[in-house]
């Protein structure tokens, strides 16, 4: 394990020492009868697992630190502890300065209240005083772009307007330490872009940023330092470049894939689950640039109900850069999924350059807000060179990622 040295002339922003968090498995609530009757029985051993197991590191003021790791490695738990949402089972955290996290966008919004009222409510939940909100009100309103609907209850807002208003309140916080959990902002590229922008401006002002992401490329660009969590422990701590590279080669080593239905590291309610994802080229055994490309996703559900869903598959480059999305949303309609449904996305001419890619698969109930199932790196695939630009010649640009179907003219 590489441990970064804390230089004596730098002052700390966060000091984490010996943090562990234990969760009890199974139901977290009980009925009265159960707990009363358990008083008279011998204590059963309760299953528990350690989401975090002895985390130590500190972050200096002005440092931009990335946190990476697979789902279930403890990233979200760590963030919850740092933002004081939950308490660690053991250990101590010292925080020097005010903290804001972009996981709380829109928290406490009430559908019956107007946009203006919600700005005040949300602002005070985020810890701003009335005066501060008042002082920034005009800015917040302009930024949100919903001026006209300010006195309309937010239940009449479109989801886009709602999100913009929510974000503009959060964007006007001026924390000394900013926590961004990109993992939670599934599927909304606009929001992700805004988060990154906010992060950048906070970092430029010399404040501390903690960035949790699966976008390794963004971590590499935005952060000076990176901590890699694995199974609740710090696997590596060092420069962003170093840690991201080590993480990538580790993923490659584990090339044998677990079947999607057996993946444990998934998010969502699980009412409908991604059972399998298959990638194919109907014309060939290989996936090739400029050739047809099909992704079919099979779903399973324990219930007999039909779910109105938004289904999407994210296409990523091996290093985590997002390339594009195949989604049922582009037609703005919901698909009805039930046990055994199979959804196929078809691309006529695959616009990807040769290289390694992977897919994430997502199902949301009606909107992106309620996640039914989300599996990352559900399938990896390699795109092989083929004739994308002309049928006669094979042109191959090794540094490209996307091929544009294009023409040119000369005058």
């Amino acid at each position: 394990m590489v441990k970064s040295q804390i230089m004596s002339d730098r002052s700390p922003a966060i000091e984490i020492s010996g943090i562990s968090k234990e969760y009890t498995l199974g139901r977290s609530t009980a009925s009265l009868r159960e707990s009363i009757s358990s008083l008279f029985r011998k204590k059963e051993k309760v299953d528990s697992f350690l989401a975090l197991n002895g985390i130590d590191f500190s972050v200096d003021r002005g440092e931009r630190i990335g946190i990476i790791g697979k789902n279930g490695a403890g990233k979200s738990t760590l963030l919850k502890i740092l933002s004081r949402i939950t308490q660690p089972t053991e250990g101590e955290v010292k925080i020097y300065g005010s903290v804001a996290s972009l996981l709380e966008v829109g928290t406490g919004f009430h559908p019956e209240l107007t946009g203006r009222e919600n700005i005040f409510l949300n602002g005070s939940i985020l810890g701003m005083t009335r005066k501060e909100i008042q002082a920034k009100l005009d800015e917040i309103i302009t930024f949100s772009g919903v001026e006209k609907f300010l006195d309309t209850p937010v239940k009449r807002y479109s989801s886009g307007m709602y999100a913009r208003l929510a974000f503009s309140v959060a964007a006007h916080l001026e924390p000394e330490i900013l926590i961004v959990d990109e993992v939670l902002s599934v599927g909304d590229a606009e929001f992700q872009r805004k988060c990154l922008g906010k992060m950048d401006s906070v970092a430029k002002a010399g404040r501390t940023v903690l960035f949790v992401s699966h976008n390794l490329d963004a971590v590499r660009k935005m952060c000076d330092r990176c901590v890699w969590l694995e199974a609740g422990k710090v696997r590596m701590d060092g420069s962003a470049e170093e840690v991201v590279n080590a993480y990538l080669s580790d993923i490659e080593l584990r090339s044998e894939e677990v079947h999607p239905s057996e993946r444990m590291d998934r998010n969502g309610t699980g009412d409908v689950r991604i059972h399998d994802v298959k990638i194919s080229n109907p014309d060939s055994d290989l996936i090739e640039s400029g050739r047809p490309f099909e992704v079919s996703v099979e779903y399973q559900s324990a219930s007999a109900d039909t779910f109105h869903c938004l289904a999407a598959v994210g296409v990523y480059k091996e290093d985590g850069t997002r390339i594009g999305t195949l989604s049922t949303r582009f037609k703005d309609e919901l698909v009805e999924l039930r046990n055994g449904s199979k959804l196929t996305f078809k691309v006529e001419r695959l616009p990807l350059a040769p290289g390694k890619y992977y897919l994430n698969s997502f199902i949301g109930h009606r909107t992106e807000q309620e996640v039914l199932d989300f599996v990352e790196r559900v399938r990896s695939f390699e795109v092989h060179a083929s004739r994308f630009f002309s049928e006669s010649d094979e042109i191959y640009y090794p540094y490209d990622t996307v091929y544009f179907d294009h023409k040119f003219s000369l005058e």
Partner: protein, 284 residues
């Protein structure tokens, strides 16, 4: 520059998470007082200000309660309330009782209904049940207005003890909050508590001397049972309200049982809340 958010540690004096945490971090609660008022204001807006039926409902409920108590206890059972007309007598009881019932049921559910916030952001959790105490005053004000009208109509003079009324109101607030906070914390672990509460409130109206004098309990019950009766803290409080407003006899010695039981409830409520405080987000 507006330094803002969530929790503010000084650069030289950090916020230490979860070590030596006391419930009454008064300085912290003070910092969050705006949130407290915002939450109370939100409840008020949502409940009354935006729906016509909300305001109407706020009036209809106490009016119906008062009428039914009058018909059942005043007419059918012919409860003797001395010089004071029964309807005025019981309206004072309703005033104290509806506040208690409102705060108890709303504070009791409050943590569960605020799950989305609790999962995402830090603030002293106790603010949520505390903020419910404010909106309850709206109902109390409506009932007091009804009481004033009734006292005017039936020409009932106001007692000079009225100066002590604020004392009983404060006591009423503390008891309602203490029990509400206990229930809100219990509901996190034991979800079925939320089904017990409405039923308990329904029964409570009868075992509290809202529409009859508490003396009945003393004269008609064996002494051990009347002690039990006064363990309901609202028994002493309702008697106190009536002494203050109408000048009925001072609450007797047994009212001390109510006081003790109120203090115990408040202490137990706060202690238990503190015990689960840091883990609330793991359960909701």
């Amino acid at each position: 520059m507006g330094t803002s958010p969530i929790f503010v540690g000084m650069r030289d004096k950090p916020v230490v998470i979860w070590k030596n945490r006391r419930l009454w971090e008064f300085s912290e609660l003070r910092k969050y007082r705006e949130l407290f008022w915002m939450l109370a204001w939100r409840d008020f807006k949502v409940r009354y200000a935006q729906t016509f039926i909300g305001v109407l409902w706020g009036v209809i409920q106490p009016v119906l309660t008062i009428i039914i108590l009058y018909v059942v206890f005043g007419r059918f059972a012919q409860v003797d309330t001395g010089d004071i007309p029964h309807i005025v007598y019981s309206t004072v009881g309703v005033m104290a009782w509806t506040y208690f019932a409102f705060v108890l049921s709303n504070a009791g559910n409050s943590i569960i209904s605020a799950q989305a916030m609790i999962r995402k952001i830090y603030f002293p959790r106790i603010i949520i049940p505390l903020s419910k105490a404010v909106v309850g005053f709206i109902d109390m004000a409506i009932t007091s207005a009804i009481l004033v009208v009734l006292m005017f109509v039936f020409e009932v003079p106001v007692s000079s003890n009225i100066l002590f009324l604020p004392l009983f109101i404060i006591f009423n607030v503390l008891v309602s909050l203490g029990l509400g906070i206990l229930i809100s914390a219990l509901t996190i672990r034991y979800r079925d508590v939320q089904y017990v509460v409405p039923f308990a409130i329904q029964l409570g109206l009868y075992i509290t001397p809202t529409a009859y004098p508490a003396e009945f309990a003393i004269t008609h019950l064996p002494s051990w049972a009347s002690v039990l009766y006064f363990m309901n803290p609202m028994a002493g409080i309702v008697e106190g309200y009536r002494w203050a407003v109408l000048g009925t006899p001072m609450p007797g010695e047994l009212a001390w049982v109510s006081v003790i039981s109120a203090v115990v409830l408040i202490v137990v409520g706060l202690t238990y809340f503190q015990k689960v405080d840091g883990k609330i987000a793991d359960h909701v």
